[in-house]
Symmetry: C2
Subunit: 198 residues, 2 copies
């Protein structure tokens, strides 16, 4: 069983969107369970509105539901404390920390990373404005210079995500050009993670 | 994997003591992990002070640590809401609800049980005063009349439990007559649970 935990030091950075789409990616590789550990119940509500290609488990039933899974993706509440992040990192193969590319997020992300030390984690740039904006690349570079391990893949901003959330589906299952581009971002992220899990 | 969840609608009723000693019982049957899901971290601290015959897992690492377990005992925070208890019951083979034999606990316990309906749970009388007191038997009878499924075994009050907690051991590993009597109570409870799990 491979466990991925998605968390962050603050909310509103595409944490649940990332958990949903990583679980979609892994559902094509093996039995996948997404554990909704966020009191907002974002992913459980998403699943209830439509159809997702994997099981979403209430955290109160998680132990039972993950017993036979190949891949487990855990969506946690935002965790402002780096001690908590360290404990989370010990409980999974990889901790994924989504962050938006804005200057207000840079400093706390650098501090988080410094506190995490040698833990198994990667920052993920999300809600990245489209070309010709260079905000994503710039933030990725700033994080790397600050010693933060960052995924090469960045998740571009698209109106497809709220649309998918409302329909209760994965963006993989929405048939328009922008949604396909967004799904390609997650395919690319999934491939990076598969390399790390090897 | 068999999962037992120990919870209650209020604290101070021997919840963590029960989780520790059920885990001790099951550690003689197979690989056992106790998951400390209580923010008080009572069982993690207990384990850190001494030596217990099973692993105690921080809830943030639980998924990873239970993957290969035969028996999982989950110690949860006290849950005053019966909706929460219902969700917990769905995530385990058996929900164990410790309660002290006092008149203040009777009414809420009867209400809890009414709300739980057909869920897989048993009430457990704990902190029962020694003979010639009849408080334990009386409460067990009152609960049964109220339609609450109750374990036949009752856990007697003894100073051995705080002693074991301070030493960081199970009461099984304390060598005096009262501690042996207390451990016998848990042996008897464990046998009842094995029957239910069959």
């Amino acid at each position: 069983m491979k466990i991925l935990t998605v968390t962050g030091y603050k909310g509103g950075v595409g944490k649940s969107v990332t958990a949903i789409h990583l679980a979609t990616y892994f559902s094509e590789k093996g039995k996948t369970v997404l554990v909704d550990g966020d009191p907002n119940r974002t992913t459980l509500s998403w699943a209830a509105r439509g159809k997702l290609p994997f099981t979403v488990a209430d955290e109160r039933q998680a132990m039972k539901m993950v017993a036979s899974a190949d891949y487990v993706v855990i969506d946690t509440p935002a965790r402002p404390h780096s001690d908590d992040l360290k404990e989370l990192a010990k409980g999974c193969e990889l901790l994924v920390l989504p962050t938006a590319p804005d200057v207000l997020s840079l400093q706390p992300m650098l501090e988080t990373a410094r506190d995490l030390g040698e833990a198994n984690y990667r920052a993920l740039l999300t809600i990245v404005p489209p070309y010709p904006s260079k905000e994503g690349e710039q933030m990725r570079e700033d994080l790397r210079r600050g010693g933060v391990p960052v995924f090469q893949t960045m998740i571009r901003r698209t109106s497809g995500f709220p649309k998918a959330a409302l329909a209760g589906v994965s963006i993989r299952d929405i048939d328009d050009a922008r949604a396909r581009a967004a799904w390609n971002d997650y395919l690319s992220l999934g491939a990076e993670i598969m390399e790390i899990l090897k």
